[in-house]
Symmetry: C2
Subunit: 452 residues, 2 copies
């Protein structure tokens, strides 16, 4: 009973999640099945679990404890879950290598342009330095976004765009507006691991749609909608995280047709858009912002320190999201930050930086793919851009075990199952090619796969 | 029925709120009582309302619609509610006067120090410019906070302090950790209006405790705990918003004794602390961080643009709040921001700036109080510090009506009832003395009070 309550308290099990079968759980805990029968029964009586005829036990939404409350343990003691990768990456000391992390090394970023932006803002008007931002955020930066969208054939008025403090905050605000505990949300399987952490914080049920090299599996998407009546589908367009895949025009069109018929709202996160060699289909553009909410940020290409994200959506939704942002943050991103970002984007420096970066990444992906191939690790697809390689490990290897072994060597990896809502990616690993120059990584990986 | 549903959709009515009596609602809508009986009955059948024997109709938590969803209308058409003041102040054009807003004019802020900080950060290491912050936030800034707390006799280890992107976000994270929809939260009556907007977003019941010149009314606090079993009490220490009052040592001690007996958690927001001539009692210090969560920010004294807040609490709570911040924002405030703030705080410039500012504010409070007295408006108390004067209007005046009239003259006011959970402050108005230098304000106020 304690083990299950701890899992619920630590959000390892969320509302609507099914518990392991009695036999499997008894085996994993080293107790008799009758003990598990009794524990499940008591938790059911306490309202923590609900039994469904012929289908097992489920966590009830209604009886979720307040979140976490210190029962989660320190990061190093934790299970290899989405938080594990985030915390290990964010708090890594200088000597730790991070092929599992989700950003490029600082010296790959356009720092000269950022330094110039900081100097320029140091001379800005007093209001930029001292005041809160306007409710929707910097008109200058929003105009730049309108210009970008117009290039794609999507004409948006300013009241359909707001700025946020990060891309994650953008999705969080949308979830706060549209979701209620117990709702179902579709995500890709695999998907960006923090989507799962975020959705757990909203106490919703997560349903994974198998991801193919051309986007989500359309048949699975359609049947999930029929069976689960989800409120939202959250996906990465442009370059999918973790796979680096791009949605095909046909898949994009079909998804929207199905979503339209069922009233589903889609959140399209285009955070890796600027890494694309040429723009791929955007659900928001095809849809004309009827049911798609488009979000993005500058953290991957410009700076993760000078934080800013955006939301483009129906005007009425944006209006409510702006209120929600005032209630929960008292406003959007720092005017200092948005002025720096606008200054960097407006100049030609950023465009040249991205042109060079794309070439550098082609070489890095090729180089790292060859190195990984030499130890039997092969990419699932060859991505068109970005810095991720989603790779299959040699037969029989468990990426969580390898990640734990490499952590002992001070190397942070991103094992497949932290990305997989169905825990079906144990034999996959996401590699960040920009974080793999150190010669210690390959030997450590090889050794971790040979041990045990 | 539509009127009630709209109020619920717009969060004017939250879960647990009582509806007006049948007779009062019939009068206000200009319909017959039997129409209201029917409407309430239908809404009860639909699960939107619940009748309690002998006590009226209440909004159920379970049937809250997704928040807002564009039914809130544009800010100018809106009722004078907490969002009205925020939106009017944040989005005010350059010629609009803002005696109702919650911050000082940009030219009262330490801009020279901020400019110097920006130039210094433009030369910082690449990691500061490009990387995400560590999970708890800048160790340098957290050390500064530890030093400040130590001066008050509160020794805290680093793992009990985390940084956030704003003071509001700090409270929001705490609410996400500790509250569930339908919980009850105590606030002061009057209190900072955005506490109410924030708590509505959490779908909790708000209970106001009458505020006295020495802090919350202790007897009312005790009986609210007995009757409502609240989960949290949120208050401003140092200088209370909107009244400018300071809690007395006796009240602080009694509050903690009562909270301790009932297991209540207290959020103490000390955002105006640096405006105090000398430190007043802090619940967090007396309590030793057992049940008090201390939050603050630098937005009022240093910059509202370079945003940063903090939370000090039990280590286990901080650990969970850090995870929650990763899940919902992917980390804390910008390293660029925290480096600038630390640089400003470390130098003697900030201390000198605050010394001068306190003197300037004494003069401004005195000057504005005299001007207001000349038109019959008098402060409830004479605050020890800060830039607010909480004032009583002449007999028979309604501050919401005056605020609407002054808005037509392009003057944003903060009428009393936006601060009052019980709507019992119609004859009060909060004035920001730093925003009242313009000679148009007094005549406009006088005229608004004479009209009608």
């Amino acid at each position: 009973m304690k083990a299950i309550r701890t899992k619920i308290a630590s959000r390892a099990l969320g509302p609507g999640d099914r518990l392991p079968s009695i036999r499997r759980f008894a085996e994993s805990m080293g107790v008799s099945p009758s003990t598990v029968v009794e524990a499940y029964g008591r938790l059911e009586a306490a309202g923590v679990l609900r039994a469904r005829r012929g289908s097992g036990f489920y966590v009830t939404g209604a009886d979720m404890p307040p979140m976490a409350l210190g029962e989660m343990g320190s990061p190093r003691e934790r299970a290899v879950d989405p938080f594990w990768v985030s915390r290990q990456s964010l708090d890594a000391e200088a000597d730790v290598l991070k092929p599992g992390c989700g950003w490029m090394p600082a010296n790959w970023m356009p720092n000269t342009a950022i330094r110039k932006g900081l100097r320029s803002v140091s001379r800005a008007a007093e209001g930029v330095l001292a005041d809160y931002s306007t409710a929707y955020g910097s008109p200058r930066l929003r105009r730049l976004l309108i210009g970008r969208f117009a290039e794609e054939g999507l004409a948006l008025p300013p009241e359909q765009i707001m700025l946020t403090s990060s891309g994650t905050e953008a999705i969080d605000l949308v979830c706060r507006l549209l979701l209620r505990p117990g709702d179902t949300v579709l995500v890709d399987d695999p998907c960006y691991f923090n989507f799962q952490a975020l959705l757990r914080a909203h106490q919703v049920k997560i349903c994974g749609i198998p991801f193919t090299p051309a986007g989500p599996d359309v048949a699975a998407f359609e049947s999930a909608i029929a069976q689960e009546q989800p409120r939202l589908y959250i996906t990465n367009s442009a370059l999918h995280n973790p796979t680096g895949a791009t949605i095909s025009p046909q898949t994009a069109h079909r998804l929207l047709r199905i979503a339209g018929a069922s009233g589903l709202t889609i959140v399209e996160d285009e955070i890796f858009a600027d890494f694309e060699p040429a723009p791929s289909p955007r659900l928001a553009v095809l849809d004309g912002m009827e049911r798609v909410i488009r979000i993005g940020s500058f953290s991957k290409t410009l700076s993760a320190s000078i934080r800013c994200g955006y939301i483009a959506a129906r005007a009425a939704w944006i209006e409510s999201l702006v209120d929600l942002q005032i209630a929960t943050r008292f406003g959007g991103p720092s005017p200092v930050s948005t002025e720096i970002i606008a200054a960097v984007l407006e100049g030609g420096t950023y465009r040249r930086h991205m042109d060079e970066l794309r070439l550098r990444l082609i070489r890095a992906r090729k180089d790292i793919a060859e190195q990984l191939a030499s130890i039997g690790i092969s990419p699932w697809i060859v991505p068109r851009g970005g810095f991720y390689l989603w790779c299959r490990l040699p037969q029989g290897q468990d990426s969580a075990v390898i990640a734990k072994r490499c952590m002992e060597e001070r190397i942070v990896l991103a094992p497949g199952n932290v990305f997989s809502p169905t825990q079906s990616a144990a034999c996959f690993m996401r590699f960040n090619v920009t974080q793999m120059a150190d010669p210690r990584i390959l030997p450590a990986l090889r050794k971790a796969m040979q041990t045990g």
